[in-house]
Amino acid sequence: MSKKFISFITAGDPSMDKTKEFIEVLAEYSHVIEIGLPFSDPIAEGEVIEAANVRALQNRATTDKMFFMLETVTFDKIVILTYANPVFVYGYEKFFKRCQECKVYGVIIPDLPFEERGEAAVYADKYSVHLITLIAPTSAERVKMLAKNATGFIYLVSSMGVTGIRSEFDLDLTDIVKQIREVTDVPIYIGFGISTPEHAARMREIADGVIVGSAFVKIIAQHGRKSAPHLRKLIKELTDPHLIE
């Protein structure tokens, strides 16, 4: 079984108890699990994950409830994905301190680019939490600057636009990966739009692993509280060693 896999689900969709149960299912096959702390206006997300944010907030998910849930999770590579505002308003110091208390491995904030990351990075460092770097196909001459400062892992965005399931990938990422490798050994995970074992296998050839989100979130949208067996089935397929090697 390969461990080169990151799965993503939204915290509190449909409830924090269920999120904990889903984490336990995904943990068996994941190297890292990303937990989306819902935000009212997730501008980097496509329809599927945006809808999950709406459901979670309707079910009264909050930052505090997410941390209470994470305190009871034993899986040691949890990464929180959220937007700048929930972190800033909670308080950078309080947020990263809670991350440390809950043994959170890293935090991804898509709308906190390199130029603005300092205000959060101070506290991420203080509480030993990785502030994960995103690199995009449009990063161009920024790639090396971004990669040099990366810790934990690098989230390489596969394609233009927002998260969501895609059938085609029209960009060649090998060149970006090469540029990153010139300056750092931090693992590279490719995300955005990966939903089938074939996609996953293709992307794994280029990078250290893949990130799959919308495909899991779609299952939860469909099966709600009864999603666990369906999540297990999908992650088994996506991490099938026969397709990887």
């Binding site: 935000f39 929930p86 800033f88 680019p113």
Partner: protein
């Protein structure tokens, strides 16, 4: 060019869009000092948009209310009927110089969408406008105007289906296609350089108004009053008066059903610092940083944030911000129509409403910016008053 206004502003954009905003910043820094560009823009403002706009002495109103002499800065007389064209012509011309062939924009009331569709038609560019489903219903006439000029209008059904969600969707669209597309942001918000660039394009309002009032009165006004949603007409009306310490600058935000009710969009009155839509500023939000659904009768003021320069002017005490309810705005809408034969946009009516309340406190003169004309609002105001009028 500074990225921030005091603690506010910044460039909080996803990495997918960082090179696009950096490219825009470089292009703007170059062209704003390029005589060819500034001459071409002045030409368009004068010969296409109809500038300079009038500074009209509202004598009936002055006589009726008693107090300072009231001047109206008539941005409603611009081509397309609002101040939005000032910014759009600037950005569309810049986009053209940058080699972009497609304009995308968000719109609330539809005024900015109409202005963008106009510029796209003029420059022969492709145009797509994102508008909340609820606003499409409130502003059907503007939707048709945009389509008439060749723009494609997308109905945004996510979230509150208003301006905030239209901005989300336009940002998502931009991240899908940046090589040929410029995002014409409609107000002084978003990531740097938008708040500065849009302010510069709108500052033509106060550049003209300051010269006009000195010519007519031989003195500066005691106050400049403008409505504030994101804040573009207000910053344009304030900008050249900021160094004039004796001139009070007053922004009128939308209190909806009341600033102390849940149904309002009064960001300075009720907001707190946050990071959203590319900027650090003040936002209506809950204790966990979830952006609050806001409400105003005016689709153009129905936004949960405010431009970062306003947040800074507020914090420094240089400008004052007041909240005006739907009821007060509708009264002012009717008052100006009857008193001067000028039907203001319901957005601008918020500024008129404050002047009506406060005019007795002032001597000398005051300027109210009429940011747009009210034709688009006639049907919805009639319905608000209980008349079953449909366009």
């Amino acid at each position: 060019m500074s990225v921030r206004f005091g603690e506010f502003g910044g460039q909080y954009m996803p990495e997918t869009l960082m090179n696009a905003v950096i490219e825009l910043e470089k292009a703007y820094n170059y062209y704003k000092n390029d005589k060819g560009f500034t001459d071409e823009l002045s030409g368009l403002l004068n010969n296409y948009a109809g500038r300079p706009s009038l500074l009209y002495s509202a004598e009936n109103m002055t006589k009726d209310l008693g107090g300072a002499k009231i001047y109206l800065k008539r941005e409603d007389l611009n081509h397309t009927g609002s101040h939005k064209i000032n910014n759009v012509l600037g950005q569309a011309l810049l986009a053209k110089k940058m080699g972009k062939t497609r304009l995308i924009a968000e719109t609330g009331a539809g005024q900015h969408g109409v202005a963008t569709a106009t510029a796209a038609a003029l420059f022969k560019m492709e145009c797509e406008v994102f508008m909340g489903k609820e606003d499409i219903e409130r502003q059907a006439l503007n939707v048709y105007r945009m389509r008439l000029m060749g723009a494609k209008v997308h109905s945004v059904t996510s979230g509150t289906q208003t301006l905030k969600d239209a901005v989300n969707e336009t940002m998502r669209e931009w991240s899908k296609r940046i090589h040929d597309t410029h995002y014409v942001l409609g107000t002084v918000m978003g990531p740097h350089p938008f708040p500065t660039m849009v302010r510069d394009f709108q500052s033509v309002i106060s550049r003209e108004a300051r010269a006009q009032i000195l010519e007519y009165e031989g003195a500066l006004p005691k106050a400049v009053i403008a409505c504030v949603g994101g804040g573009s007409n207000a910053i344009g009306a304030f900008y050249h008066f900021i160094p004039d310490e004796g001139v009070e600058l007053i922004g009128c935000e939308a209190a909806g059903l009341g600033a102390d009710t849940p149904q309002n969009a009064a960001t300075i009155t009720n907001g707190s610092p946050g990071i959203f839509h590319g900027m650090k500023s003040l936002f209506c939000q809950d204790e966990y940083g979830q952006i609050a659904p806001v409400y105003s009768i005016s689709a153009g003021l129905d936004y949960p944030g405010i431009g970062p320069e306003h947040a800074d002017l507020h914090q420094k005490g240089r400008a004052k911000y007041v909240a005006i309810t739907d009821t007060e705005a509708v009264e002012a809408f009717e008052y100006l129509s009857k008193m001067e034969g000028i039907i203001p946009a319901v957005e601008s009516a918020h500024a008129v409403a404050y002047a009506m309340k406060a005019i007795k406190d002032y001597e000398g003169s005051i300027i109210i910016t009429i940011s747009g004309r009210g034709d688009k609002d006639v049907a919805s105001i009639a319905r608000y008053k209980g008349e079953n009028l449909h366009e």
